[in-house]
């Protein structure tokens, strides 16, 4: 069961990573990066590393996504301001 889980999660992670690189829409790309980090966390747990999994969950799930979004939003705002 766990082997199947590892292989499947790995495939989903690879798909999400490729999607991150290929997507034209920036929000979707940021979202897909969030999914990569989410499954990385589950994989860490399967690799018997709960501390690392917890760090990845706390940082990858919320903070990192939001930091990227904020940076993207800032560049967008400037663009609107300056025509």
């Amino acid at each position: 069961m766990e082997t199947i889980m590892i292989i499947l999660l790995a495939l989903v992670m690879l798909a999400a990573a490729l999607a991150t690189i290929h997507m034209k829409n920036m929000i979707s790309a940021i979202l897909a990066a969030g999914v990569v980090s989410l499954f990385a966390s589950v994989l860490y747990l399967l690799m018997a590393a709960p501390d690392v999994a917890m760090t990845e969950a706390a940082i990858g799930a919320g903070l990192s996504t939001v930091i990227f979004l904020l940076a993207f939003k800032k560049t967008r705002d400037e663009e609107v301001e300056n025509g």
Partner: protein, 232 residues
């Protein structure tokens, strides 16, 4: 076109290097020497249940000190680079759409719980998975939730600065205490080890981790606030 081919070539070369490394790799079946020593003697030496915590805080304490320094430098770099003059900031006030009532209510309901949970995580760092970094990130997430619900929310900078400076200073102070009263820098044995597995055990490890947690939490919150920009 040339650029694309070149980058593809570079990636292929990198893949080749990785493949040659991977070919000779066999999964470990035994712990390496250092790790075996840590695992076997940790209970008598430090008395923390979580081995990762023991390594992060004590055996590899200097790495953690450097890590906190890097974090501090990054936070101050963000603050310096995104600083704006006051008139410029006043000129760029934008109307932001207010969050709906459900989100604001939920945020004010949940954020105390999230802060409490973060405190639980770094207080139990030596017993269960978790510790200063995770707890700090969780606390920063509570701040983030408040930002999301109230776009104009302002942090109290004076309090944040005091907490950050105090925890950084106290962290180094605890390390020096370890140097003078026990075996070396960041040694946790100047406090009694206590009963293995209880909350007040493992010497100074909980103290150090609480300080790290406060510092990481305030720094991540500062980064978030600077990236958000001042709304008014």
């Amino acid at each position: 076109m040339v650029r694309r081919a070149f980058s593809l070539l570079l990636i292929l070369a990198l893949a080749g290097i990785f493949f040659s490394i991977l070919k000779g790799w066999t999964p470990m079946t035994e712990l390496s020497g250092v790790a075996r020593d840590y695992v076997a003697n940790e209970k008598e030496q430090l008395g923390a249940m979580n081995l990762v915590t023991a390594i992060v805080v004590t055996y590899r304490g200097l790495d953690t000190l450097g890590e906190v320094t890097v974090l501090f430098l990054a936070a101050s770099g963000v603050a310096v680079l995104l600083r704006r003059k006051r008139d410029e900031a006043a000129a760029t006030v934008k109307i932001k759409r207010a969050a709906s009532e459900i989100v604001t209510t939920g945020a004010s309901l949940l954020s105390p719980f999230i802060v409490m949970f973060g405190a639980y995580i770094f207080l139990n760092g030596h017993l269960s998975p978790g510790g200063g970094f995770q707890g700090g990130a969780v606390i920063a997430s509570a701040v983030l939730l408040l930002f999301l619900a109230h776009p104009d929310y302002k942090l109290k900078h004076a309090v944040l600065n005091i907490i950050e400076s105090f925890s950084g200073f106290a962290y180094v102070l605890v390390g020096l205490l370890g140097l003078f009263l026990a075996g070396g820098f960041l040694d946790n044995r100047f406090l009694p080890l206590g009963h293995f597995g209880s909350l007040l055990s493992a010497g100074a490890i909980p103290v150090i981790y609480v300080l790290i947690g406060l510092k990481v939490g305030t720094e991540l919150a500062t980064i978030l606030e600077n990236m958000k920009g001042r709304a008014l």
